[in-house]
């Protein structure tokens, strides 16, 4: 089970927070960690027993997943990669600004990948497909909407 997903920048500003279990907010100073060390942290003290945290650092952003023993550590690292790849495809060279301004898009993408704490999709192509169908629906809906008006 994935317990939480967070994206924050290097100044500790949250850019996206999503908790699959209701948890108090926390802020771990990830920035104090050196660049070439492992990406896992034990998070029991913050998230309760059996919690692990994995983060990945991209430019000015930290992507943080919190999960428990039902997930594989390396797979979670891959999943962050999938998430970021998808964002990259979606925004063409994603940067912090894209993430700042596309709040709900981000949630939609994340919902395709992680559903109620479970990994449902691991291919960024599939996520893009889902996004496109959503867009199409929205366009068609709006067209019909205007026609009805």
């Amino acid at each position: 089970m994935i317990k939480a997903v967070m994206v924050m920048n290097t100044q500790g500003k949250p850019r996206l927070t999503k908790f699959y279990e209701f948890l108090d907010f926390w802020c771990v100073v990830l920035c104090s960690r050196a660049e070439n060390v492992s990406n896992f942290m034990e998070a029991d003290s913050i998230f309760g027993p059996d919690s692990r945290l994995v983060y990945k650092h991209y430019a000015t952003l930290y992507f943080v997943f919190v999960f428990d023993s039902s997930e594989n550590e390396l797979a979670m690292l891959d999943l962050i990669q999938v998430f970021v790849e998808t964002l990259d495809k979606c925004f063409r060279n994603v940067c912090e600004l894209d993430i700042v301004f596309n709040y709900s898009k981000l949630h939609t993408i994340l919902d395709e990948i992680i559903f109620g704490g479970q990994v449902l999709e691991t291919s960024s192509a599939e996520v893009m497909k889902a996004r496109i169908s959503l867009k199409l629906y929205r366009i068609s809906y709006q067209n019909s909407f205007w026609l009805e008006e």
């Binding site: 089970m1 500003k13 949250p14 850019r15 996206l16 927070t17 999503k18 699959y20 209701f22 907010f25 960690r33 050196a34 070439n36 060390v37 492992s38 990406n39 896992f40 942290m41 023993s69 039902s70 594989n72 550590e73 390396l74 797979a75 690292l77 891959d78 700042v100 301004f101 709040y103 709900s104 949630h107 939609t108 919902d111 559903f115 109620g116 704490g117 479970q118 990994v119 449902l120 999709e121 691991t122 599939e126 889902a130 169908s133 959503l134 629906y137 929205r138 809906y141 909407f145």
Partner: protein, 926 residues
């Protein structure tokens, strides 16, 4: 008009970015706007306001619970964009306790039934995030329908939401479980299998036993699947299942080993390793293979892999320590790795390697590392040394002298913050291990002597322990005068009052001891030194007195050479010292200090004239002098009575006297005491022993007021011991005492013969020791006796109370899998109908059936093509049959297993249930 001037989310984000300092002012301004706009009747204005609020909630953590109803309004809008905003707001902000949550039930149902895929997805996502008991109960039928949807993304999500349904509403199992199991076999669409396996992995992690009957299905996926995500999850499931069924373990070990050696994905390889090490540790060859793969991880450049490699070693360590020992050098080297994870993990491994024979060597290495590393890790190292060494009443420590001096050394490490733990261990060892007391006192004295240590607040607890030890076991001190000086040194004003009180009490004990040995040596050897006019009388009376209280005298045969240092001058010096150092404290604001200081001063007041008189002899005063000796003797006896460790469960053994009403609600007690109540964490709390001291010192003050020493002091203590012997540790000195008069049975009678024999050993040991010459700590010697309590040495481990929810869930699963349908009252009507039908078309699946399943698995793995054929046969049959024949599905599934069995042992058995299961039953659900 509203929407024309409304700020969009982008405007808010831009605005926030331009705020340098006054962000909160900006946020509250936006919130004000939002509060106004959200009341609008225009759907666009409302949803934009809600979107802004959700953003602020997620990024700035503002409260949005007040907008719950507006969010519900938004999801009912026909416009998809507005609906989406509403759903996002709900899933971000609703909790199970949100009062309006039930209002969304109808809208969710409507959206779940919608023809538009994205709307269904939204509703499912929302349900998976916020579903509570009521929502899950109401929407189970809709989710059940969606689980058979032809649209893969919808079906996938419906399966995902089942986990929430089961968790919140266990009866949903009776409705959905069958379809969930069926979905396991939809190998034509990998996303579905992935989703189902994810659900089963979560379910099995809570109660693996219930899912054992599904092992054949999981096995098939393990052998057939090529998707690493699915394989990882299946391995997770098998990790839970394998320990429950040895035959299963035997079955899966081979495919897992194959997977481990073939796969290129590190994540899958690591999962294989973990599965083998956790659940298949009995299979030596598999563990060997896994160890080989671990070695690959350890030499990898990626710190993540190195960390996980060490993590894997930590898993294997308890069962196969050889795997760790093989990598000993690497582990030790990793202690200085820049990566904190790797450091911690290797420290854990090092601690795993500790044994009786190498504990000295390893601790030496670790303490060296600790002195060199940064404060945080240094304390982690110290903490793990302390916990490992004290584990199971110092099981691995043979040479306690060494350990005690190690504790002393650790206290002096610059960053040491483990004061409390060291304090507890020092006192604990002092009470439990008689033989080590001289060394303890030496270490304690060294700590007390160093004025620099008083400045470090982390050490105060240790100093308190050192002071207590030196006071309690003062007979081992070479130079008590020197001890007194260090206990009363001016820098003790840096200590917190509680520790200072211990210092004073110890000083008191040391003083009594000095006077006692002074009087003793004076009376027994050279009386003229004291200038007594009638030495004979005094000496005689003193000896008499000793005789009377001989059995309570100082610890057997342990008095050392201390007498040499006590001269009349040093006594005078001591008394002056006390006047000077303790005098000012009699006005201290802290009651503990004040009381103890007054005790000491009162005592010296009483004793001083007598002593100084004794230096200038006068005939008529010698009687008074005898009194003084008596007094000193009395106090000395009081202090030299040994304190034993107290069992943690001692309190519980006190029978509640009749008529005593125990205050039921202690909440008001907490209000009175506040945070001043100490958190007792140690097995043996220092406070406990402290109280005993307190009791005696109070008594002493009483005695002073009477200003007439009597023999009551010892008799009262003895009385206490007699009354509450239950809570004292048995010690050889007082065993006769107990036997003589026992109102309460003494503690050792409650126990088995173990402690009794312990006592016997104790004595034998003691006798042996006295014959042996004293040896240096470095030499090999037998482990000293460590007093153990039968119970109460370890804090009772609170057994994990399983949640009722989980219980009912696994019960429901077991019911469905094993076919014992429970009463269907609680189910919705449809669900009830479903279960009734299934009852008809069902075979009993019992323990024997499980065996069959496992056998079946054998045959399946032997003939790989068969299951495929089977499935195609089955699906064609399914097509032929009525689409809604879900009631019979279970039967079919069972029959498939039967077929499998038939292939292997044809003609052995003819299952009669076969016929029943084939009866097609119309399903009312569809």
């Amino acid at each position: 008009m509203d929407s024309l001037f409304q700020r969009s989310l982008d405007d808010i984000i831009k605005g926030l970015r331009h705020q340098q300092a006054g962000e909160s002012a900006f946020v509250s301004k936006v919130l004000e706007e939002v509060r106004r706009e959200i009341k609008s009747t225009d759907s666009h204005t409302k949803s934009t306001a809600l979107q802004k609020l959700t953003y602020l909630h997620s990024i700035c953590f503002v409260d949005m619970s007040w907008a719950a109803f507006h969010a519900i309004e938004c999801i009912s809008y026909p416009n998809f964009t507005h609906k989406k905003v509403g759903y996002l707001a709900i899933s971000q902000s609703f909790q199970e306790s949100t009062p309006v949550i039930l209002l969304i039930s109808n809208q969710l149902r409507k959206d779940l039934k919608s023809n538009v895929e994205v709307e269904v997805s939204l509703a499912l996502e929302c349900l998976s995030r916020i579903g509570n008991l009521d929502l899950c109960r109401d929407l189970t039928p809709e989710v059940f329908t969606l689980m058979a949807s032809s649209r893969i993304p919808v079906r996938k999500k419906a399966i995902g939401v089942v986990l929430r349904l089961f968790g919140k509403y266990p009866d949903a199992v009776r409705v959905c479980f069958k379809r969930l199991v069926e979905s396991l076999e939809s190998s034509d669409s990998p996303p579905i299998v992935s989703a189902v396996i994810g659900v089963f992995c979560e379910l099995a992690s809570k109660d693996p036993k219930a899912y054992l009957p599904l092992a054949p299905e999981f096995y098939k996926i393990l052998v057939d699947s090529r998707n690493n995500w699915v394989l990882i999850k299946v391995l997770k499931i098998f990790t839970k299942l394998a320990p429950l069924e040895p035959r299963l373990a035997k079955k899966i070990v081979e495919p897992i080993c194959e997977l481990m050696s073939k796969t290129g994905a590190k994540s899958l390889m690591f999962e294989c390793i973990r599965t083998i090490l956790t659940s298949l540790a009995e299979h030596e060859s598999a563990v060997k293979l896994a160890a080989g793969r671990i070695n690959e991880l350890l030499i990898d450049e990626d710190p993540n892999l190195r960390y996980l490699g060490l993590h894997a070693l930590a898993i294997v360590a308890p069962k196969h320590i050889w795997a760790v020992l093989e990598n000993k050098e690497f582990v030790i080297k990793s202690l200085s790795d820049p990566d904190p994870n790797i450091k911690l993990e290797s420290l854990r491994l090092v601690m795993e390697m500790v044994s009786e024979s190498n504990v000295v060597e390893i601790c030496r290495v670790l303490v060296n590392y600790a002195t060199k590393s940064e404060p945080e890790f240094c304390n982690v190292i110290l903490g793990s040394i302390l916990s490992t060494c004290s584990n199971n009443v110092y099981e691995i420590i043979v040479d306690f002298d060494w350990y005690v001096s190690l504790l002393g050394e650790m206290s002096r490490i610059q960053h040491c913050q483990k004061g409390e733990e060291i304090e507890n261990q020092l006192i604990d060892i002092g009470m439990r291990v008689q033989d080590v007391r001289p060394e303890l006192v030496r270490v304690g004295r060294d700590l007390l002597m160093d004025p620099a240590l008083l400045g470090n607040p982390f050490l105060h607890r240790i100093l308190s322990a050192a002071a207590w030890l030196c006071g309690e076991y003062v007979e081992f001190i070479r130079n008590p005068v020197e001890l007194m000086e260090s206990l009363l040194q001016p820098r003790t004003s840096l200590l917190p009052p509680s520790v200072r009180a211990v210092y004073l009490e110890s000083a008191f004990k040391a003083l009594v001891f000095c006077l006692h040995s002074y009087l003793k040596s004076a009376t027994s050897s050279d009386h003229s030194a004291l200038g007594l006019s009638d030495p004979g009388v005094s000496s005689q009376s003193y000896d008499e007195f000793s005789g009377a209280h001989g059995e309570n005298g100082e610890a057997s045969g342990t008095t050392l050479i201390q007498e040499n240092h006590i001269t009349p001058d040093s006594v005078l010096h001591l008394l002056n010292l006390i006047d000077m150092a303790v005098g000012p404290l009699s006005g201290s604001y802290d009651v503990e200090i004040q009381e103890r200081a007054r005790n000491i001063l009162g005592f010296t007041e009483l004793i001083k004239p007598v002593l100084s008189d004794s230096l200038h002899p006068q005939d008529e005063r010698h009687k008074q002098q005898v009194e003084a000796s008596k007094m000193v003797r009395l106090l000395h006896d009081t202090f030299s009575d040994e304190l034993g460790p107290v069992s943690m469960s001692a309190q519980g053994r006190v029978p509640v006297p009749d008529g005593l009403v125990l205050h039921e609600n202690l909440a008001d007690l907490e209000a009175v005491c506040g945070s001043s109540l100490p958190a007792s964490s140690a097995t043996i709390s220092f406070e406990g022993s402290h109280n005993v001291e307190g009791a005696t010192s109070i008594f002493i003050s009483d005695q002073k007021e009477e200003s007439e020493p009597s023999s009551e002091s010892t008799s009262l203590l003895a009385e206490h011991r007699k009354r509450h012997g239950l809570y004292y540790l048995p010690s050889e000195k007082n065993t006769e005492h107990h036997e003589a008069n026992n109102d309460y049975p003494p503690a050792n009678e409650l126990k088995s013969g173990v402690t009794v024999s312990n006592d016997a050993q104790d004595l034998a040991k003691l006798a042996e020791q006295s014959f042996l010459p004293k040896r240096k700590s470095k030499q090999v010697k037998a482990r000293p006796v460590v007093v153990k309590l039968d119970e109460g040495d370890v804090l009772p481990i609170s057994s994990k109370i399983p949640q009722a929810k989980d219980d009912s869930l696994s019960e429901a699963v077991r019911d469905v899998l094993l076919g014992n349908e429970a009463d269907a009252d609680t189910l919705t009507q449809k669900a009830a109908a479903d279960s009734v039908i299934r009852k008809k078309g069902k075979e009993k699946l019992n323990a024997k059936e499980q065996e069959d399943d496992l056998d079946h698995m054998d045959s399946q793995s032997g003939t790989v093509q068969n299951p495929v054929k089977e499935r195609s046969k089955r699906s064609s049959r399914k097509q032929n049959a009525d689409e809604g024949d879900h009631g019979g599905d279970k039967g079919k599934q069972k029959r498939r297993h039967r077929h499998g069995k038939h292939r292997t042992r044809e003609g052995v058995q003819n299952p009669p249930a076969n016929v029943i299961s084939q009866t097609p039953v119309p399903d009312l659900l569809l």
